[in-house]
Every structure is written in C-alpha cells, then in structure tokens.
C-alpha cells in the first residue's frame, strides 16, 4: 500500500511540475505569438497605407481604420503623417492613449516600436505597435495599432483552468486505477497472509480461495496442496507421537515401579536383617531393644515415603479462587523465614509488581509450590545467601496472536545456592529424582504437577556454584 501511495505522490509531483513548466512556456510563447501577429498586421497596414498616407487620403485611411477596428482584439488605430499629425484614427483613439506612451512615437526613426502597457480606458494591457512609413529614408508618417491583450489573458486563464482540471482528473483517475490495481495485487497477498498465519498456528485445513488463472492462482493451488500434505504429515506425526508417549509412559511407569521397589527394598532389607538378629539373639535384651528400634525407624521411613508418594499421586484438581499472588507469596515467605532460616545468613529480597490482577488459583496448592521451591533454595544454600522473589507481567510474544489473551503473570525465585548440574536439569521434575540424601525426590515433581494443573508453566535455569532460577508462568484469566 505504501508503495502505491508513494507512486501516486511521485505522479502528482511530476504532473504538477510538468504543467507549471508548460504553463509558463505556453504563456511566453503565446505572448510572443500575439506580439508577432500584431507586428505583422501593423506592418501590413503600414505598407498598404503608404499610398493614401502620401496623398493625405483621409477617406481611404478612415476606411482602413473602420474596417480593422471591428476586429475584437484591436483597441485603437492611429495613422499620422510625417509631422505626426493625425490622418485617421479610430473613435477617440488619441484621447485614450496615455501621454508617455504617445510621446514615444513622436519622431520615431526605428523600423518598429512595441509598447506593452496598462490602459485604464480599456481596463487591460495593450500591445501598442507603431510602424513608421519610410520611402528612401524619408519618413512619410506612421501607423499605430493598439492590440488589446484582454482576449489573450482570458485565453491564458482558460488554459490554466484546463491544465488544472486535466491534472485533477488525471490525478483522480490515477488514484482510482492505482487503488483498483492494488486490490488485484494486495488482496491475494492479504488472503495468503491470513492463510499462512492460520497454517503457522497449526491449522492446516485452511484453503486459499483464489481461483484465477494468473500467478496468484498457481501459487494458491500449490499452497493448498502443501497445506493438505502438511495436514497428512501432522496426523502421522500425531500418531507417532502418541505411540512414543505410550512407550515413554510405560517406561516411566517401569522406572517408577523400580524406584519404588528400590526405595522399599532397602528398608525391608534392613528390617529383614535386624529381624534375623532378633531371632538369633535370644539372651541379650539390650541388643534386642536396640535392634527393634532400628526396625521401627526403618518402618517410619517407609511410612513417610509411602505417605509422600500417596500425597503426590492423590493430588486433587485445584479449587480455583481469586487470590492475590503477592499476598500468598508474602504469607508463605513469612512462615519459611521463621522455620528455616534460623542460624543461617539468608536474606530474602522481594520485588513485587503491585498492579498485578488477582489470579484464579488453588490457595493451598500454590502455597505448597512456593514452599517447596523456597525449601529447595534454603537447602541449596547451607552457608547462607540471597533469595530474590519477583512478580510481574509476562508478555510473551507467542501469546499475542491469541485474541482475548491478557498475557500472564510471572513469578521468579532466584537463589545464590550451589546450583544444579546440567545433566540433572532435565530430570529434576521427575518423581523420586533427588540429589539430596534425605530427599524423597517428590518435591519438584509435585510443584510441576500443580503448576500444570493450573495451566501454568515452569522453567528452570541454573549455573553450578552460582545459583538457580525458577520461573512460573500463570495465565491471566477472569473465567474460572
């Protein structure tokens, strides 16, 4: 569109410059032409008047004058003898000629004299052309004709109007044609653009409806073919993906079962061993007591693990209520500060955006998410450090094409702890994966599930020895 407008603009400038230049050239040429024609007419009259001028033939000269004065562009005619006495003149001609203009003609000894001046009597400019009558260097008189330029000025004004109107019409036609042409060119492009956007967003069933025989039609047919083939590929990909998912799920289940078995097998082994000691040891009651304590401890550990596992697997779907994320953050941090930071030099920086809207979240589950993340951070900083908690709007580009989407809220937890090894980063959200001696490996897995249940996203960045940063994204959505 911009191209077409600049094109129109250039055309207008060109037309304007051309018409201005033409206008001035035309004016100059016209003036010159009028002057030349006047001069020729006056010279012809002078030549033809020679005989009557010599003979002082007033009758013939008056005939000439009265015949010529009827021409519409002739204002006056004066014919004088050698002493510049009037031989013949049109009605009151001499009274209408200003004195300075008149004086120029007295004693004229040049082949002609053209004076262009404004005549108040005729209310127009006049080309006053005088031609003396000479025979063998003897002056016999002169013929003088005043040509009114009113007609010429009217003609020039008409010309300007014609130029203006033609320019205007051509400009309008130009704009019209350009707009129509642009429709032919830009409309298909717009259609393509829309279809491509739809295709880009994953809907391959979009068809471009251009059925012309030109290049656009060709392109549209190729595009539609491509869309169909993409759709086919997409379906295949989906199937493959589903198969893969199934396999992964089975694998994950297998791994999970193995881990649970492993987790349970260890205490069971200890319990079995110590129970054997109880069977073998019949006399020493002290030892028996001690061994029984072992068994109870191991059973307790087992109990904790099973409870955590149950908690994790029984995680209910969230009960959404409007809550202020800053409030719940502050509340949870408050609890943590008392319980966990005792004896450690840990500072917690808060960087809240107070303008955040309330979010639809499950209060208890979100509290647990915050708690788990904070506890991880505390544990990652045994020698103290700094935790930064920040909230803010999250304007990710990919969300923007979705109309009605109001963006999201971003919650960040950043610590200066020991960090996570790169090879572990992809597994930290897996159940039972832990790098801690006392961990069940279910903390982050639970966090992940809760966030996912809220249609949120979690991401992690970490650098070994420098710290870890968790980012939570929740969509802003008024509807529950």
């Amino acid at each position: 569109m911009r191209f077409i407008y600049s094109f129109i603009f250039v055309i207008i400038i060109t037309i304007t410059i051309l018409s201005l230049v033409n206008h001035f050239r035309w004016n100059r040429n016209y003036l010159k032409q009028v002057r030349d024609e006047g001069l020729i007419l006056t010279q012809t009259l002078a030549q033809g008047s020679m005989d009557p001028i010599i003979r002082n033939d007033f009758y013939t000269l008056n005939e000439y004058v009265n015949t010529l004065i009827k021409k519409k562009n002739i204002a006056y005619i004066v014919i004088t003898d050698k002493q510049d006495h009037v031989l013949a003149q049109s009605q009151g001609a001499l009274n209408k000629i200003p004195q300075p203009i008149n004086n120029q003609v007295i004693g004229l000894n040049r082949t002609f004299l053209v004076q262009t001046y404004y005549n108040p009597d005729f209310k127009t400019r006049i080309n006053d052309i005088s031609v003396p009558v000479f025979i063998d260097m003897n002056k016999w008189g002169s013929v003088r004709v005043g040509f009114s330029l009113a007609h010429m000025h009217a003609e020039i004004t008409k010309n300007i109007l014609v130029v203006m109107v033609t320019s205007l019409i051509s400009i309008l036609i130009g704009i019209g044609v350009a707009l129509i042409l642009s429709r032919f060119v830009t409309e298909p492009i717009k259609k393509f653009s829309r279809s491509m956007e739809t295709v880009a967003s994953g809907n391959f069933e979009q068809e471009v409806s251009i059925d012309t025989a030109d290049e656009f039609g060709l392109l549209a047919r190729s595009f539609n073919k491509m869309a169909v083939s993409l759709e086919k590929n997409k379906l295949e990909l989906k199937k493959t993906y589903q198969r893969l998912m199934q396999k992964e799920k089975m694998a994950a289940l297998g791994e999970l079962t193995a881990r649970i078995a492993h987790e349970i097998k260890n205490p069971l082994g200890i319990i079995k061993g110590t129970a054997q000691i109880l069977v073998d040891e019949k006399e020493n009651a002290d030892i028996k007591l001690e061994v029984a304590g072992f068994i109870i401890a191991e059973v307790n550990r087992l109990d904790t693990k099973v409870r955590d596992l149950l908690n994790h697997s029984r995680l209910q779907s969230p009960t959404l209520r409007k809550i202020d994320i800053n409030d719940i953050l502050e509340e949870t941090i408050h609890i943590c500060e008392y319980q966990k930071s005792a004896g450690k030099h840990i500072t917690i920086c808060r960087n809240y955006n107070q303008k955040l809207p309330p979010l639809m979240l499950d209060r208890e589950q979100i509290r647990q998410v915050i708690l788990n993340l904070l506890i991880n951070s505390f544990e990652a900083m045994p020698d103290g450090g700094k935790i930064t908690v920040a909230t803010g709007f999250d304007f990710q580009k990919e969300d923007h094409h979705n109309p009605g989407d109001m963006g999201g809220v971003l919650i960040e937890f950043e610590d200066t702890g020991i960090g996570i090894q790169e090879k572990d980063l992809s597994r930290i959200f897996d159940p039972f994966f832990t790098t801690k001696k006392e961990g069940t490996g279910l903390g982050l897995a639970t966090v992940n599930r809760i966030v996912e249940n809220h249609k949120g996203k979690i991401s992690v960045e970490s650098k070994l020895g420098a710290g870890t940063r968790f980012a939570l994204h929740f969509p802003i959505n008024d509807k529950p």
């Binding site: 569109m1 911009r2 407008y5 129109i8 603009f9 207008i12 400038i13 304007t16 018409s19 201005l20 206008h23 001035f24 004016n27 002057r35 020679m50 005989d51 009557p52 010599i54 003979r55 002082n56 033939d57 013939t60 050698k82 300075p100 203009i101 120029q104 000894n109 040049r110 082949t111 002609f112 004299l113 053209v114 004076q115 262009t116 001046y117 404004y118 127009t124 400019r125 003396p132 000479f134 025979i135 063998d136 260097m137 003897n138 002056k139 016999w140 330029l149 000025h153 020039i156 004004t157 300007i160 130029v163 203006m164 320019s167 205007l168 400009i171 704009i175």
Partner: protein
C-alpha cells in the same frame, strides 16, 4: 488503517497546494501597470533636415501610384533643397481638384500641373508659370485615344456604344483635348455616346483599364505612351490630337520674386550640367524651358469652348 488515512490526507493537501500555486501564478500574470518597450532596428540614414526652417512646398498632379511618385520626385526635391539651401517638401494628393484647392489656399509654393489645370488655376489663383518640361526632345505632347490591339476598333467612330475612360476632368490630354475633338464631331454628351464613361483619376489607371479589357477605349497623354510600359505593347493608338505644350511648374502669386528667380535658375540647370544628368534621367525629363502664360492660350480657348 490510520496510516492509509494519513497518506490520503497528504495527497489531498498536496493537490490543493498545487492548485493554489497554479492559481497564484495565474493571478500574477494578470495585468500589471509596468510598461515594456521593444524597438526594431534604427533607420540610420533617416533624413531629419526636413524639419529645419520654413520649407518650400512642392505639389504634383496625380500621376498614378503615390509611392511611385514619391520615388520619382523626391530626388528633384532634394536637388532643389540643395540648390536653394532650404528644405523642400513634396506634396501629393489624390485628385487634380485637391491640388488646385491647395494651390488656391497658398498651401503650395510650387506645383507641377497639366496644361489645362494651369489654365483653370491661373484664373482662380493668379499663379505664375515658371518652367515647362521637355520630354523626348520636345516640350509639347498630345492626347491619344488607345484601344487593345486585338480589338476590331480602327477609328474613333468605332467606339460609339462602347465604354470609354477619361483620366480626370482637369486633365488636358486625358479630358480636354478629346472632349474638344468630340464637340467638333458633334458629340455633345459623351455619357450618351458611349455605353459607359469612367474617370479613372490618373493616366496609368486609364491605361491599365484598357489593357485589362474592362474599358474599350481611353484618352491618355502621349507622354505615358512613350514610357517603358510592357502593357503598351498590347495596345494601339486610334486617334492623336494636335500637339500642345506640357504642363508647367508654376509658383504661387505671393512667392518672393528672388526665390522664384533662384528656383527658375535651378530648374534650367537640370540636364545641362553633368551633376544633374542623373536627376534628369531619373525624373525622365530632359530639361526645362522658361514657360510663359501665352504658351497655353490654345488650351485656354479649348477650355472656354468645352466648359
């Protein structure tokens, strides 16, 4: 969309500005009060001497085209101006009557007239004859009646019922002598004798009207017949009058006698000295002789009889 609107506004604004500019320039080209002057090449040898002193006005009877007459007689005026040391202006008019009027009003100091015209004017204004012309070895001439060679007209009598042209009613050879001849023949009214009678003004026009066939016969002075005129070759003479003296240069009665004497002296020199030969050739006059009023007595008698 907003950008589109903005561009459209730009275009409209620009168009309006353009039209305004054009209007502005068009109003600029409307009448202004300045005067521009443009002149042609100067006429370098322009003679301004005419304006110094009181000029002597020299008139001529009409003898055809005025430009031709100016070219013919101006050298004589220049010669006289040099001889008399005073400006001499030539005066030409359309008819004999106008010249006579100018003479009687004293507007002309010197005038070339025909013989009859001298006689008529002399009665009215008491002009004095100064010199008479000498052409082709003779100071006399006659009236001739001409017709086309290819016509079957052989004598004047054949012209009865035909069209006829005179030069001017004041012309000697172009009117008086032919009319006198017709009176002798008993033709009192030429208007009824001929089918049509015109007065063409000067002998050249008369000759031309016969040459073109518009008029069957015409009277002209024999001096015109002798000139190098290609038209003459197709014409023939069917009547010839008795010779009469060529018309004189006369001066008005009030002109200073000394000036008149000097004028006569200057005229008589023409054709007799080497430096006047060129002038003599130019005006086709071999020389001048002193003229007397009695030279024109025969004309006077004819005029009395005719008028």
């Amino acid at each position: 969309m907003a950008e589109k609107k903005r561009v459209v506004v730009y275009i409209i604004t620009f168009t309006i500005l353009t039209l305004l500019t054009l209007l502005f320039f068009s109003t600029c080209s409307k009448p202004s009060s300045t005067t521009t002057i443009e002149t042609g090449a100067p006429i370098i040898e322009f003679k301004e001497s005419v304006r110094k002193g009181t000029p002597l006005y020299m008139g001529f009877i009409p003898q055809g085209n005025a430009v031709f007459m100016v070219k013919k007689w101006q050298p004589l005026a220049d010669y006289l101006a040099k001889e008399l040391q005073m400006p001499v202006e030539t005066v030409f008019r359309s008819s004999y009557r106008e010249i006579i009027t100018a003479l009687s009003k004293g507007e002309l100091d010197l005038c070339l007239t025909g013989a009859l015209m001298y006689v008529l004017t002399r009665d009215a204004t008491d002009i004095r004859p100064l010199v008479r012309r000498k052409i082709s070895g003779s100071s006399s001439y006659h009236s001739i009646i001409i017709v086309r060679k290819d016509s079957d007209l052989k004598t004047f009598n054949d012209l009865k019922g035909k069209s006829f042209a005179f030069a001017d009613k004041e012309s000697t050879t172009g009117y008086l002598l032919p009319i006198a001849m017709m009176r002798q023949k008993g033709i009192n009214d030429p208007q009824t004798y001929f089918s049509k009678v015109i007065y063409a003004g000067n002998p050249d026009s008369v000759l031309l009207s016969v040459y073109t066939g518009n008029i069957d016969g015409a009277a002209i002075p024999s001096t015109r017949w002798q000139f190098e005129n290609p038209n003459v070759k197709e014409l023939k003479i069917i009547w010839k009058s008795e010779p009469t003296f060529l018309g004189p240069f006369s001066v008005r009665s009030g002109l200073d006698d000394g000036l008149a004497a000097r004028l006569k002296k200057a005229f008589l020199k023409i054709g007799k000295s080497p430096d006047t030969l060129e002038l003599s050739n130019h005006i086709q006059i071999e020389g001048f002789e002193e003229a007397f009023d009695s030279d024109y007595d025969s004309i006077r008698r004819a005029a009395k009889w005719v008028f």
